[in-house]
Symmetry: C2
Subunit: 207 residues, 2 copies
Amino acid sequence: MMQNSGVVEVHEDLRVRRTRKMLVAAFMELTVEKGFAAVTVRDITDRAMVNRSTFYRHFLDKYDLLDQYMTDVYGSASDEKLAEEKVARKKDFAPPGLTSLLKHIQEFPDFYRVMLGAQGDPKFIDRFRKNSERRLRALLEYVGDGDPNGSPIELRLSYASCAGIGVILWWLENNQPCTVEQLAVWLSQLTGTSVGLAIKPTQSAQS
Amino acid sequence: MMQNSGVVEVHEDLRVRRTRKMLVAAFMELTVEKGFAAVTVRDITDRAMVNRSTFYRHFLDKYDLLDQYMTDVYGSASDEKLAEEKVARKKDFAPPGLTSLLKHIQEFPDFYRVMLGAQGDPKFIDRFRKNSERRLRALLEYVGDGDPNGSPIELRLSYASCAGIGVILWWLENNQPCTVEQLAVWLSQLTGTSVGLAIKPTQSAQS
DNA sequence: TGCGATTTGTTGCATATGCGACACATGGTG
DNA sequence: CACCATGTGTCGCATATGCAACAAATCGCA
């Protein structure tokens, strides 16, 4: 048990990194092919060329795999990155944090399209949304509340985080009709006004 | 030593199959990227996520890896397959043995394009050619010698086996301008007349 | 020429993984 | 209902692999 949760081992055994990488890759492939619900542990281990018992040495089940994967992806956010995020929003630059997240999604577009859609996992969507919410909240505390219409902050956060998923789904289901950077700018502008980030508007407000 | 040469283990340890598969895949990728000569063992193991010492538990060096790989690919040929081969040639069908070889090449077109070309390995080309020659000789003994122009059989075999490489290179360097089956038919017709396979001509001799 | 840097093989020990077996749950079929 | 097939977790033991260190060879460079 424990799965080495929390502390991040910088230099794990090569076999461990390799095994986990193959299991995650197999899981993503199978999810795209069959949908999340239909994927079994045996499927994953067969595809990954890993013994089934080895799977349980790393993960409790496929949900735990997904969970650990997301923890890896959305690991570090609470640091000076927020400052860059704020500056980027002010200048209509692509916010680096959001951009890197979108770039990660771009590496596995089919996986995210499935996981955020009808064949996906509600827990995944919920966690994805909560994560966006958390990031937004941190940014909000850092930057300040512009209070657009007096509605509760939590309401606005929930609104914007769900809206973000909608934007990403649109982007994935329409074969990425714009660049990651452009999408990041649009999305950050939308969420900024929705959630009420106290940022002085600039003169560049075109498409 | 010995590398388990000869006897084919039908059910090796999963780790062994996985490791060898990854090493071969990494070797092929690197060969395409850097050319055969520039690939080092360290390159291969880094790419494959395998410890370098593990490489030496399977192969003597990159030449041995290539050698074992080809042994796997061209493993079984001496059996009743030859009968099908003969029938196919008679009827202008795609010969199954040649077709399956070409299909294998089609799985790794870049690798074969490099290895049979200027950035490849002379030993690889030689082995490839000798293998074709061996298959042709077996077919010749099985079918009979039509003796096209009185030249020595070995001369004709060498001629045809090298010519086959030329055809494959043309096919790879021109982005596979025809199907594997079509290529197999053309190549088997050409080699048939060159080497003097005693096969009665059929009325279907168009493109 | 000589001198670092890199690659190559090799070895002994530590460990992650494979394997087979087991009990249990689930679900379809007679 | 019984029955079989399949998936899930878990366990003890065997083994393939990782790791660190080493000497030797090779290569580029001053």
